[in-house]
Subunit: 794 residues, 2 copies
């Protein structure tokens, strides 16, 4: 079973085999841990690049986070083996590695903790994970309870994977004085220039216990013996051998022998994480286990509370009550949390892609606008004086552009006005436009207005003679890398997005007292839309682009990659599509791209390389950019649907982004509904068996766009220069909804109902009709009661 708890604090799963890859994730200022329901874990921390303290059993590639990550017997994990001393029987919690089916199993994913309760053979094991706020360390609380009617003699063995740490140097041993295990390694390097970086790395992995263990093992091979990880030979012995690891794969295993009367319980706590030296580890032990405050609470307790507080700061700005309780739960609790994660961690990257960084902070505008403001200023300080934005934003002095950020993309500028507009809607802080910021290549600072103006001019200039924007080696779609690498190919989507960016910027110009500039940009947008309609309209939808060899693609003649979602959604935003075109493209999307799991990014998925389009065509059909239900693109489209008032269409697709509510649906996707993954597997019409599966990757630009769909679209509570415009677009089958909106320090209680008497939407504030639906002069600290009457009620 899968359910939200009554207090909406947890999502629960009651079987480890129902959704074997189901997971939760926690993060803090230093690290992220992705915890699988069966006990597998991926934990990364920053120093400054992502690093690990719990490794695979072989030498892993350093890479960006991968979707649909495979698990295997020796995948890093956190487990507790339990042995009945009398019968010799063993099982493990939460499920791996022994895989004995439990009598009762709950995996509960919370906002600031993850909790398992496993009942097996009359024993209950509870495991709870939380993090401190600012250290690369896991806080584990484990409880063992005797549920049977008789006294039980047990050994419990907390097992923490350490794994293959380094080919240069790795070892591990138990330290009596620390009451724990310390595994040491040296990050491999070959050039002496790297020594200065690696010497300060937190290359030690520690496991500290609040109770003295009876025995331990630090040697993976000795622990497993011929029994292997599923039935370690060492557990068959009375006591672990207290071994060490010398250039051998380390593991951190403790043994506690416990004698439990019926109903009795024992509790253990552990700290597992990374450190630079033993002095630090001793300090951690003091801070978390030894020192207590006046109330007798130790650091472990305080850290958990502080962390919970830290996470709870990441609230959104709406709270909803609708006919769709799953939506309510997701929007009120999980969606802002996922957005907050992005804004706070920058995806555990020191060089986030520029478009990601801007959109992540578009989302942060709803949560901590001050942080968003700072982020925009950082981004602009790395802009070139010719207006071009870099491919990634450097966030650390030792950072450099890596992976995909070494490939030139042409879309980064369009995100500036688009993301900024959300910040301005939320805050009305137009003073930001007058802030002075230097350029990457020019110390002399100019205003933010001037920066963005230059970005827009860069977009206007980076075009061919038809007025279409060059794509170079990619736009929003990274692997569309061979459309225009010779310098001629253009991006249909980017051209359309540029028209939209011009319009958004025109509004900002107007709102900041620059009507002439506004007029120029509106004209430029119109001109752009004309070029789009002239060169890219294929009869029933917009093409995706035109290659270096002047071949239009993403059109009806194409066997694969016939239609792409992005040009369609953005044409609704830019206004390129007139009513007739709109009807046609909506139909084409529904017929060709919509699936039970959302709209696909393109269809049919490419099944072989198309050299004039590029790497996207080589990606697995239905995966990531090649035909997945790529939620980021789907969210753009939905936002476009709301922009043109397609409320039912929009709601239907919005709802498909969340797994569920039906169990079948959740099972096919394989994910708990606690985050929106970057994609669900697509190619639904080509490979139905795998379609719908979650990528399990929660790093995605989707979330702020979903939030914008809610704020600007579904619930219609978007900020304006004057105040807040209330214009809900509830789907036809909803008769009511309530929204509490935090806005510029005020609170609006918005009650939305269908009313048979209303011929059009009527908005009342404190009982008074707002003719244009805009509540003006919103006062901080005040509470407003807003009533909305929608036409069409029974």
């Amino acid at each position: 079973m899968i359910r939200a708890t009554a207090d909406q604090e947890y999502y629960e799963l009651t079987s480890p085999t129902l959704l074997p890859k189901a997971s939760g994730f926690l993060w803090n200022e230093k690290m992220m841990i992705h915890m699988n329901c069966r006990g597998y874990a991926v934990a990364q921390f920053m120093q400054p690049e992502p690093a690990k303290y719990s490794h695979a059993p072989n030498l892993e590639a350093k890479t960006f986070m991968q979707p649909e990550q495979p698990y295997y017997a020796h995948h890093p994990g956190r487990f507790v083996y339990v042995k009945d001393e009398e019968s010799g029987e063993i099982f493990s919690a939460p499920y791996e590695p022994v895989r004995v089916p439990a009598d009762d199993y709950t995996f509960a994913v919370g906002k600031s903790d993850i909790l398992w309760t496993v009942k097996c053979k009359g024993i209950q094991i509870e495991m709870r994970l939380t993090l401190p706020k600012a250290e690369a360390m896991e806080l584990w609380a484990v409880k063992v309870k005797n549920l049977s009617g008789e006294r039980r003699k047990l050994s419990i063995y907390p097992y923490f994977t350490v794994g293959y740490m380094s080919w240069m140097n790795q070892s591990g041993e138990y330290h009596e004085e620390l009451q724990g295990i310390v595994c040491s390694s040296i990050t491999p390097y070959q050039k002496y220039q790297e020594y200065d970086k690696i010497k300060d790395f937190n290359d030690k992995t520690f496991l500290l216990a609040d109770r003295k263990p009876d025995a331990w093992e630090v040697n993976q091979e000795a622990f497993e013996g011929e029994g292997g990880i599923t039935s370690p030979s060492a557990i068959g012995q009375e006591e672990l051998a207290k071994g060490d690891a010398l250039y051998e794969t380390p593991a951190a295993v403790l043994q506690y022998r416990v004698d439990l009367n019926p109903g009795a319980e024992e509790a253990y706590r552990f700290l597992f994480g990374a450190a630079n030296n033993e002095g630090q580890i001793a300090q951690i032990r003091s801070d978390y286990f030894l020192n207590k405050n006046a109330s007798g609470e130790d650091g472990f307790v305080l850290a958990g509370r502080e962390y919970d507080q830290y996470i709870r700061e990441g609230r959104g700005c709406i709270e909803i009550a609708t006919p769709d309780p799953d939506l309510d739960n997701f929007v009120n609790h999980w969606l802002p949390r996922q957005m907050y994660y992005h804004g706070q961690t920058n995806r555990l990257s020191t060089d986030p892609q520029t478009r990601n960084f801007l959109q992540d902070h578009m989302g942060m505008s709803y949560i901590k606008p001050q942080l968003a403001r700072e982020a925009f200023l950082i981004a602009l300080s790395q802009q070139k004086s010719n207006g071009a934005m870099p491919d990634g934003i450097i966030l650390h002095k030792d950072a450099e552009l890596k992976y995909i950020n070494q490939v030139p993309h042409t879309d980064h500028c369009v995100w500036l006005p688009i993301c900024l507009s959300t910040y301005l809607d939320e805050t009305n802080d137009y003073s930001l436009l007058e802030e002075k910021v230097p350029y990457a290549d020019q110390a002399e600072a100019e205003t933010v207005y001037e920066h963005i103006h230059k970005a827009m001019q860069w977009l206007a200039g980076d075009r061919d003679e038809r007025g279409l924007n060059y794509i170079n080696q990619g736009d929003w779609c990274d692997p569309m890398n061979m459309v225009g690498y010779k310098g001629k190919g253009v991006s249909g989507w980017l051209t359309i997005a540029t028209a939209y960016a011009f319009q958004v910027w025109a509004d900002i110009c107007d709102n900041s007292g620059r009507p002439e500039a506004a007029q120029d940009y509106r004209a430029a947008a119109e001109e752009t839309n004309e070029a789009v309609n002239r060169y890219l309209w294929d009869g029933d939808w917009y093409a995706r682009g035109i290659t270096d060899d002047n071949v239009v693609f993403g059109i009806s003649k194409d066997r694969e990659g016939r239609i792409f979602i992005n040009p369609q959604g953005w044409s609704l935003l830019s206004g390129a599509a007139d009513e007739e075109k709109k009807e046609k493209l909506l139909r084409a999307v529904t017929e060709q791209l919509e699936t039970p799991y959302g709209v696909e990014k393109l269809a049919p998925s490419y099944t072989s390389m198309r050299e004039d389009v590029g790497r996207v065509t080589q990606k697995h059909p239905g995966s990531a950019e090649n035909g997945a239900v790529y939620n980021h693109a789907a969210a753009f489209y939905i936002y476009g649907l709301y922009a043109v008032g397609e409320r039912d269409n929009a709601y239907r697709l919005l709802r498909k982004m969340l797994p569920g509510p039906s169990l079948d649906d959740i099972e096919q996707r394989g994910q708990l509904p606690i985050f929106i993954p970057n994609y669900y597997r697509g190619a639904y019409r080509q490979f139905p068996r795998t379609a719908g599966r979650s990528s399990h990757l929660f790093n995605t630009g989707t979330v702020p766009w979903v939030y914008r769909c809610l704020i600007d679209g579904l619930f219609g509570v978007q900020g304006t220069k004057e105040g807040i415009r209330v214009s809900p677009q509830l789907p036809g089958h909803w008769n009511e909804a309530a929204v509490t909106r935090e806005f510029r320090g005020a609170t609006l209680h918005v009650d939305i109902r269908r009313d048979a008497a209303a011929s059009q939407t009527e908005v009342y504030a404190e009982g008074e009709l707002l003719p244009d639906g805009v509540l003006r002069d919103v006062q901080p600290g005040k509470t407003y009661r807003v009533q909305v009457k929608l036409p069409g009620g029974a």
Copy 2:
């Protein structure tokens, strides 16, 4: 048990748990496979860089080959699961992954095949692996025999790991028309410039069968189910589900249902490897399984025979019969095979380190001197016109200097005359010196003589005011990277080695009619030795070097890294050490560096970073360069011992390189005596538990030096300008030995015996005394009977 077969064709191990990491290796012109006794495998092929067709379950780092490689449940392997259809019991051959102890188990490592015979539950499984000569493909023959007295209904499931192939694109399915499984992937890349390389990669993994299977599974997860790899759920079903893998981890599993009368046997053959496309795979199927020659043999049979022939071409130039049968077996069969492997594969690298490349071809001089000659010319064509040798030799147009070859080392030149001298000893082909070769930076060719002269001048010039050679970021010891990176530090070893190189080169100058040059180089050698004695003699041994800050290290005052083997061994070769110094340093080595497993490279092993020495001090104590019994260095030392007539000392240490003969010794090392590993774990006095363990890495410059120890030292059958000098140095406890020596087309049967009447060594050819021990005017095609009388017989 561990034993050589009577015909010396195989080394056998009769338990998979006795030496769990014991392995054999096969290679051909395209690939290498390292096969573990329990069924795990590491296979690599060249395209042009090393690639895999059988992968780990996660994204692996691309790296140079690692020592002491850890295995784990899902490590790539080749297994056969066997299920009794009636009892439902399963086991697997050879041992993994089910790990049911066999009633009888043999792992037999041959020269050109690897063979298991496993008897379990009344069933015998035989698995035989061989390779074709020139393709990246494994040839497997599997036989199933009913040993029990009753009819047996079985299913057998050949299982070949495919693993995590690519995050871009991976899949797999059964192809009816190919009678096999094809798994496809695309090597991940992000920059379009890489597409041109990857598009021709052999990114498909295939498994073809000579008999039609009853069922199959291509989906790892579906195959395992909740049973996991140790007891796959799919095997519990009557038939495998015939599934496929769509962006899921693929596996190649077949099922054959078989009904066996008592004593009956069924045979199956499989091809497992890499290909670019299905057309190629179909062609392979035709070539190996469908087409037959006049004798009814198919390509599978012919390929095995051709491969055996290919391997047998790698014979050495001596065959010995001594009081030490283990030595005889190793020297007659395995040592030349390992040497041949190096010369043929260049360690599966497209940019072998220059010193490795030269020494590997020093070894090839004994087997295929023509190939060694070509290799020397290639290396010299990449020399700079200032005499400097590059850090690596580029062997493929797409190759570039990688890993350690990007770090500047100063020793590469010394290997030129040293390695060449072996070629000249073997062939007397002094015409090589007059070959004209261009330089890397100069098209105008000069003679090999001129090239090496310039290399020697480069060494003579790259020195400080004391006449000691700069070390820069490393010499033979790669990670000794911070001794001289500021441009001042010097290498003691390299200075001594330079003196030796000058002497060797002086001999070559003499032999090629350049007596004046010879005289100059002899003087230069002497001068160098004087500098060495002035600045580096520490009282009881030679120091290893002097740092940038003028600190002498590798001396008695040092707490760690007090003594290094290399300066000692090479001082015996260069003549720096006079009789008194020799006695002292021999004693120091014995006392401080000798262990039951050989001499350590340095002692005590460093346990923490010493910043003025560098990365070597950060490597794990007792591992690779930091205090291991590093066999390459040990071999230099032994060669030095023979050079000064230390026959007993030399033999004792030589013998320690081979695991065994005692079982205890082999167990501690964990390796079959079929190759010399690059190291045995050292730090014997610091960490005795792990000391002696084999690295299991067979890539090492050790082997040609061991061969030189045998040819030039122990058996004393070294070529000279005039012929061959016979001057054996049998250890004192040997009374006799016989050597058949292939030399310049002639065959010498050398019979060596102690003779109480001999007061000194007396050499007779065809009954005639050779006063100086040199047999002159050796005629190709002729056979010579040589008798050696050694003093000291009973």
